[in-house]
């Protein structure tokens, strides 16, 4: 194998999940550049990046929960309504009983958990398909929102707005940048290097091929480069702005949930249930509990997303959360999850979520009307899933995986169709 091929394989998605991870980040960069050109350089300005994060963090937060729901073989259509319902309950409660804002946030999470328990109960313990339960939930909680709020908007207090519209404070010496954001960037760089070294260590212990050191160095250099770029953009905006608080919440959630889904027993169980629920059950997985928790978790995250949205727009209204489910579901599928469950990653969904966020943002920057925005988003979702289904029939992995294909020269000869009995998977019980 030539050196060039070696490089391509190691950099752009060989067999390891590590490489695939890297491939996804690379794809995202390509998409960012596309929008950058399309919007004449507006996309990557500090102001716009900050706006994207604070405006669309809800998509990514929802995508995290939705990924787990979809991996387990379900779907949740109610996320927008749940977000709106939570928003109005919290806003109203804080207004009526003048609750302090931290209590408001806790209340909101509790409301999310309750709604989640309600939906999870029907899905897991009664066996009603999640599609139906959450379709009902979509109506129920949208109606609930309008009932409680009298179809009117309810403003929220200044303190509460921090989680949606707040920024890291300016502290320390005047460097011309937001110092805390710089520190975060530094930590991220250290994290990336630590992870790469640790994964080399792990692979060595597993007697797997370890990529040559220079490849690791190159990989780290690229990642660090991206982080440094983003850090400088977020830290170098208008004074008083920086990485939004909602962005920090998001990063924390992403780290926690990707650790959970990838490395823990609980995470494994979600994939097992989605892959073959009967086999999972016979391996000692508590099917009902997994389904219940996955649905409940989704509603808690939806509640959080709802509160962040309300905080940003400083009031809760009857139109909050409309068609959020589309953004979230599209993000997950664009990120390579399988329609039939059992496959998908948090990082993939985040890439998908960023694609959706940038799409919304780019169309807005270009002043495209809401009619066209809906049409385009609908088509994007359809094409994403169609592409994935097509790929699966060809025995390949996912969109993100296939976006990388042109870079992989040492691919096997033309893919072969595998018979459904081999490539297919057992149907997933609801």
């Amino acid at each position: 194998m030539s050196r060039i091929k070696d490089l391509q394989k190691n950099l752009f998605g060989g067999t390891t999940s590590n490489a695939r991870q890297f491939g996804m980040i690379f794809t995202l960069v390509a998409i960012v550049l596309l929008f950058q050109i399309w919007t004449d350089g507006l996309t990557l300005t500090s102001g716009n990046l900050i706006a994207v994060v604070s405006q669309y963090s809800y998509i990514l937060i929802l995508a995290i929960g939705m990924l787990m729901v979809i991996v387990a073989g379900h779907i949740d259509l109610s996320v927008g309504s749940v977000a709106a319902f939570t928003g109005i309950v919290v806003a109203k409660a804080m207004q009526e009983f003048s609750l302090p804002w931290p209590v408001g946030i806790l209340l909101g999470l509790a409301v999310g958990a309750l709604i989640g328990a309600w939906q999870g109960f029907w899905v897991a313990y009664v066996g009603v398909p999640a599609f139906i339960v959450t379709l009902a939930g979509m109506l129920l909680f949208r109606g609930g929102n309008q009932y409680i709020g009298n179809a009117d908007t309810v403003p929220v207090s200044e303190g509460f707005r921090t989680i949606g519209a707040g920024f890291l404070p300016e502290i320390g010496p005047d460097t011309g940048y937001n110092n805390l954001t710089l520190l975060l960037g530094l930590a991220a760089c250290a994290g990336v290097i630590w992870r790469e070294l640790k994964s080399r260590q792990t692979r060595r212990e597993m007697n797997a091929d370890v990529a040559p050191m220079w490849i690791s160095v190159l990989r780290m250099a690229v990642m660090v480069g991206v982080i440094v770029f983003a850090t400088l953009r977020f830290a170098g905006g208008r004074v008083g702005t920086s990485l939004p608080i909602s962005g920090i919440i998001l990063i924390a959630l992403v780290l926690a949930y990707s650790h959970y889904t990838r490395n823990t027993i609980g995470g494994r169980h979600i994939y097992a249930v989605g892959g073959n629920s009967r086999a999972a059950e016979l391996s000692g997985v508590k099917l009902k509990r997994v389904n219940f928790l996955v649905m409940m978790n989704m509603s808690v995250l939806a509640a959080l997303a709802g509160m962040i949205f309300v905080a940003r727009s400083s009031a809760s209204g009857p139109q909050d959360g409309l068609s959020w489910e589309l953004d979230a579901i599209a993000a997950v599928f664009i990120g390579g999850a399988a329609v039939s469950g059992g496959l998908g990653t948090i990082s993939g969904s985040i890439v998908g979520g960023l694609v959706m966020a940038l799409l919304n943002n780019g169309l807005q920057l270009e002043g495209v009307g809401s009619d066209m925005v809906q049409i385009i988003k609908g088509l994007v979702l359809l094409l994403a899933v169609a592409f994935d289904v097509y790929n699966k029939s060809q025995g390949r992995f996912s969109i993100i995986g296939s976006l990388m294909r042109p870079f992989r020269r040492d691919d096997p000869p033309p893919p072969t169709a595998t018979p459904t009995s081999d490539a297919g998977k057992a149907p997933v019980a609801g």
């Binding site: 494994r268 073959n276 086999a279 508590k286 018979p419 998977k425």
Partner: protein, 515 residues
């Protein structure tokens, strides 16, 4: 026989998958009107060769030529090969359970009348076809309501409906009991008389010897030899030698059991069917297992052995009515699968694809799936420990695959079975229940699996083996229970075990006195 013209010739077929060469330079010559058997170990490439032939792996994804009826053919998919009269019946039956026999026979091939499907004509034709394959059922019966043996016949009737010239059967008798197998083999002979050629893949060498005219043996993706059964005086040992490349002197490893105390006991186990409330699938079954003992469960297909095993294993089947389980002298409640696993039970299911494995997983994930806590600390899975554990089992069970990172769908049937076995050995059980553990497994691997079972017993574990192959039970088990219609009807010690006695107890309701 040798005088018949050649119907099919496959010339230097080579087929590679990423990282695996499944077939290299394979040749196959099938004559008109014969029954041609393909033998080989698990992963030898038998199924792959048939998938190449039937267009599952389309032209262009392999190299080599296929000459059929004197012409070179290039099938792009299954439909193309069916048009040419080649019909393949995969081991996993492709029937729709909720449809009737008639509907299944004509699925995708419906006779058209003036107003859509002509069901009258279909009905009539279905009855004809069912007669031909010896299936005596109401054609409106739903496929899920008939046994596997009859389902197999429906598949063949379906092939006849397509005007088959070359019928390919991939391990057709793997899931059948003796009587159904015999019926199927008779049917194959009948088909041969009508001039239809068939290719059969099977690991049951006695059947091959009885029915085949010619045998082609594959080993590691290469053609080893082609034997003329009538001329060459072929017997099972001869076939085995071709398959494994050496003489295999015995089918069962030498073993001196070291049997201890009774440690597991079931009393009056009664379970009803999950849906029909008045149907009992287990009726007051009682049995015991001693440490270091291999206990067999013999019975006809549908006798309720699987149901018994699964209902014991955390009530995974049916509705529990009454009965008690004792382990190490104490009564235990096994309400869920995790209870059962915690109390040291393991159940290796007979249907590895539907309920044994998550087909999206790779080998290592599958192997540790039933006891993740063993490779985790504080709920976090340690990838290195996971890898090492899986690698150890891959080597000790000799799973044929380049690494444990490989997806389980890429394994051949027998190797998948080893992965399922590893998955449950990994839980370190006290009582291992194996449901048809050697189904679809080659002679060499069977020998290995018997060895593994004996080693487990020697470690003081109890092993229950459910099998439809009496010779296997007799050769392996220290004691055999017979089951008939959900009841344990008898108990036979190793010394007394012979097929006739077992058969008698497997088909009578009367409880024979124990020993």
């Amino acid at each position: 026989m040798m005088s018949a013209p050649v119907l099919l010739e496959m010339r230097s077929i080579t087929k590679t998958f990423p990282g695996v060469t499944a077939l290299s330079d394979v040749n196959l010559e099938v004559r008109q009107g014969e029954i041609h058997a393909i033998c080989g170990e698990n992963g030898a490439g038998k199924s792959t060769l048939m998938k190449v032939l039937s267009g599952v792996h389309p032209h262009g994804t392999y190299t080599g030529d296929i000459v059929y009826q004197g012409e070179q053919v290039r099938f792009s998919d299954i439909r193309a090969s069916e048009q040419a009269g080649i019909v393949i019946i995969h081991q996993e039956l492709a029937l729709v359970p909720g449809m009737s026999i008639t509907e299944n026979i004509f699925l995708g091939n419906e006779p058209r009348g003036r107003f859509g499907i002509d069901w009258k004509a279909a009905q009539r034709r279905a009855l004809e076809l069912m007669e031909q394959v010896g299936l005596h059922e109401d054609p409106d019966t739903l496929v899920k309501d008939i046994g596997v043996g009859k389902q197999q016949l429906v598949e063949i009737a379906k092939a006849f409906a397509k005007d088959v010239k070359l019928l390919i059967l991939d391990e057709p008798t793997a899931a059948l009991n003796e009587a159904d197998s015999r019926h199927l083999l008779d049917l194959l002979r009948g088909i041969r008389r009508r001039g239809v050629t068939s290719i059969i893949i099977s690991h049951k060498l006695n059947e091959i010897e009885a029915v085949a005219d010619t045998i082609t043996i594959l080993r590691d993706g290469r053609t080893i030899e082609s034997l003329d059964v009538h001329a060459d005086g072929v017997n099972e040992d001869r076939i085995v030698r071709g398959m494994v490349g050496r003489e295999l002197h015995s089918r069962f490893p030498e073993h001196t059991p070291d049997i201890g105390e009774v440690f597991f006991e079931v009393r009056d186990w009664t379970v009803r069917h999950p849906i029909s409330a008045d149907r009992l699938v287990c009726k007051g079954s009682s049995f015991t297992v001693r440490r270091g003992e291999i206990v067999g469960f013999a019975g006809l297909m549908g006798a309720g052995r699987t149901e018994l095993a699964m209902s014991l294993f955390g009530r995974s089947y049916g509705v529990y009515l009454s009965g008690r389980i004792f382990k190490d002298g104490e009564e235990v409640q096994l309400r869920t699968v995790s209870d059962a696993i915690r109390h040291g039970l393991a159940y290796v299911s007979e249907d590895r694809k539907a309920i044994g494995l998550n087909l999206l997983d790779d080998i290592k994930t599958s192997m540790v799936a039933a006891k993740l806590s063993k490779v985790s600390s504080h709920g976090v899975v340690d990838p290195v420990r996971e890898y090492r554990a899986a690698e150890e089992y891959r080597q000790s069970l000799r799973v044929k695959s380049p690494s444990v990172d490989e997806g389980v769908t890429k394994l051949s049937g027998g190797n998948q079975q080893k992965v399922v076995l590893a998955k449950w050995m990994f839980t370190d059980p006290d009582l291992l229940i194996l449901d048809e553990p050697t189904r679809g497994i080659d002679v060499g691997a069977k020998y290995e699996i018997y060895g593994i079972i004996q080693r487990l017993a020697d470690q003081g574990k109890g092993v229950i083996v459910i099998s439809s192959e009496l010779p296997e039970l007799i050769g392996l088990c220290d004691r055999i229970y017979t089951v008939f219609e959900g009841t344990v009807t008898g108990e036979v010690s190793r010394a007394d075990a012979d097929p006739e006695l077992l058969m008698k107890q497997m088909t009578s309701t009367k409880k024979t006195p124990i020993r």
